[in-house]
Amino acid sequence: MVNRETNSDEIKCQQVWREISNYLEDDVDASLRLAMDQHFRTCVRCRSVLEGTRNVVRLYSDERMIEMPAGFSVRMKRRLQQNARAGHSRWSSWYAWMVPLAALLLITGGIRVANSLTVTHPMKTAHGQPAQEIPPDMPVVVTTGAKLFHASGCPFIHNKQTERILTAREAMREGYVPCLRCMRKYLNTTIVGKGAGSGTDNPDLYANQDDDDLDAGGGGQ
């Protein structure tokens, strides 16, 4: 072991050995590097350690130092390709049953959507008439809380501040039934009437409508 202490700046061999790896990594501060450089110029043993360590790092970093088992690359490639195929196969089988499933869902969903577009709410009154003869696109008036739909201007519209204009089709979907007064001409009064002549104000017709919709006062609110 060499330990020359010719002046106060000189460092000991042990300290050089402790730092020699960091020196090779260029991970020592400038003053230490300078001191080590000076030490290497004068200390044959530490220079031997430095250059021997350099040899170690250089030789082992050479790719020729890594020897793989024979056939390694072939097996690696095969495994990766098998995995890629398996992945594709998994995707294919997944895809194979997902496509019809998706189609089924689309069809089912489509039917539901179609049904939702044509669904008719229960009639708001069991006594209403189906109103098959009313033109479906005819504008009609409905109001909140009421059960009848009316032609615009019908004097029997209640709760006018909540009026909404719908088509007859939309009103019927929402469960409204035609006002027997303003929609009379579209209704088959013979169905409703009990032996009364058509086109007449048969009292039984009005009796089939709920009181809320029958304006006792004969006028709107």
Partner: protein, 221 residues
């Protein structure tokens, strides 16, 4: 510096880097069939990383394959902030450490953890030195002697040495890959380099490099 020189040796050419980036993007978009082309330049290093930890060819090959498959499965998580090779090596080290943990008994692991990282290591072999030409690695017996010296190291020194000096991970990457502190990496790296230097110096005395064209009367240490 030495470390920088080694990195320069391993850094891909700009055109290679662009090609690699292009391959990464294609694989990330689902072209799994290109994955082997992407990783083929690194399979030797991946194997070496696994072997350094497991010391068994069969296990190392198996882990190398598993690591590649894991890398493929997680390729979309790869971000260009890290080198692709570093990312691959870190996955491999994790896989190898997990494999080793599974196979080790708790008692053995506890014993290993109790070993300290004594930074004091005094080189034993001193001789006149010179650089060993890399042509030395053309000879199989030289490679075998170097491999044998490496295998004789305690695993904790060998792993750090392999990742830093053979795999070219930097100190921090090595620490992260092994789950140890940067200070421990530096200490273990120093010990590994000095011990290998001593082992190879003894090999020199035994005539490992006797047929190399050194100048008469000089030794590489």
């Amino acid at each position: 510096m030495m470390a920088e020189a080694n990195l320069a040796l391993r850094s891909p050419e700009p055109s290679d880097a662009a090609h690699e980036q292009h391959l990464i993007e294609l694989v990330q978009r689902g072209h799994n069939e290109l994955f082997y082309e992407l990783v083929q330049p690194y399979e030797r290093r991946v194997y070496a990383a696994a072997f350094a930890i497991l010391r068994n060819e069969s296990d190392a090959e198996d882990v190398a394959q598993e690591a590649m498959l894991k890398a493929l499965a997680n390729i979309r998580q790869f971000r260009a902030e890290a080198r692709f090779s570093t990312w691959l090596i870190q996955i491999t080290v994790n896989e190898a450490l997990m494999r080793r943990r599974r196979e080790r008994t708790v008692a053995m692991e506890g014993l290993d953890n109790r070993q300290d990282d004594d930074p004091e290591y005094a080189p034993r072999e001193f001789a006149d030195w010179r650089e060993i030409p890399s042509e030395a690695l053309e000879r199989k017996e030289v490679r075998q002697q170097l491999a044998s010296a490496l295998a004789s190291l305690d695993p904790k020194y060998r792993e750090v040495f392999v990742l830093r000096d053979m795999q070219q991970l930097n100190i921090q990457e090595t620490a992260e890959a092994l789950g140890i502190s940067i200070a421990s990496v530096k200490t273990r790296l120093l010990r590994a380099r000095l011990m290998l230097r001593d082992l190879l110096a003894r090999g020199w005395e035994s005539g490992w490099f006797s047929r190399l064209p050194f100048q008469k009367g000089t030794k590489p240490w």
